[in-house]
Chain length 173, copies 2
DNA sequence: CGGACCATGTAAGTCGTTACATGATTGC
DNA sequence: GCAATCATGTAACGACTTACATGGTCCG
């Protein structure tokens, strides 16, 4: 899986611009797949060359022009073929856990502050996902499935952090 | 954070070879930080040039020679400075969740098989971490903290998968 | 005798990030 | 007037992964 497949997935649902795609990702898959504009725009160009998608320039009032991309039949085939290809393993890279792993080489204050930062992030994440859940009640069952995973895992993370923070405070007594 | 910092962390604890480092990672941080030999060996060379580490060739009987790397004071400083630097966000890239997100474009059989594969992985992971936990009772509290996180999160994943598999089976009735 | 483990390394290619560059409009 | 939002794009660089290359020992 790479960014091309994810973009093709979104364009299968409806035509979008690079900007739209980025917004869409932020509101849906960002917590398990993230991409920057520097990755999205070149990918769209590549895919246009390969005839997976077609560009349509849309004039807008009071806003810059927009490059709307429409998926072609070739693009749909490519996407469906990805959906049949072997599953790739999940990639995780956590600076927080690496630092805790080597925690004896730093101060308790540092560890506490890292945990608190992560706690805040998890809280924001949870709030964000709950809002999405309320705002779009007609999501299909698969999108709902990943959304609920996001909510549950944010809650799991939150509980873990709170528990560890409590342990660290106990160690101070 | 990059591979250099993680290697310096391990070498702070004791001298090791590239091969040792890879084994060590597999038994400790692999579920939140992974690295291939193709990343480890070049990193060791770079760090030797930068005088963060020093090489010591060790003759072995019945085994190939080993390049044991020892951390220098400069290397220790570099590592400690990393431990004081701003925390980087966690990176997650899940092919499974992307495919479920776009699940309406594939078959239930596919989704079920992906979930079962992931279930098996989580079970193996859980068993592996439990073995590590029993095998090394004298881990410092920080290493134990990350290990228990690994165990808890594997259990969380497992429960989620089992729940989703049950839902999919219900949908068949 | 074959597979697993021990052990090191390189080269080509992939895939991405960050920073830079530009510029209009809307709302406070 | 300033920040945020809308909108697109490139260039330099970083940081890997995969595949290739090599070869010895141990165990069943």
């Amino acid at each position: 899986m790479n960014i091309q497949h994810v973009i093709l997935g979104f364009l299968t649902e409806k035509p979008m611009s690079g900007y739209d795609i980025k917004q869409m990702m932020e509101n849906s898959v960002a917590y398990f797949f993230d991409a920057s504009y520097g990755a999205i725009y070149p990918a769209l160009k590549r895919m246009e060359k390969e005839a997976f998608i077609e560009k349509e320039v849309v004039q807008q009032e009071g806003k810059p022009n927009k490059n709307l991309y429409v998926i072609t039949n070739r693009g749909k085939e490519e996407f469906l073929s990805y959906m049949e290809s072997p599953l790739n393993p999940t990639l995780i890279r956590s600076d927080l856990l690496i630092r805790i792993f080597f925690g004896r080489y730093t101060s308790k204050e540092n560890i506490t502050s890292w945990l608190k930062k992560e706690e805040q992030k998890a809280k924001n994440q949870l709030e964000h996902l709950n809002q999405i859940n309320e705002k779009y009640p007609n999501m299909d069952s698969f999108k709902k499935m990943t959304l609920l995973y996001g909510i549950d895992s944010a809650q799991f993370t939150l509980k873990w952090i709170e528990n560890e923070l409590a342990k660290l405070r106990k160690g101070d007594e």
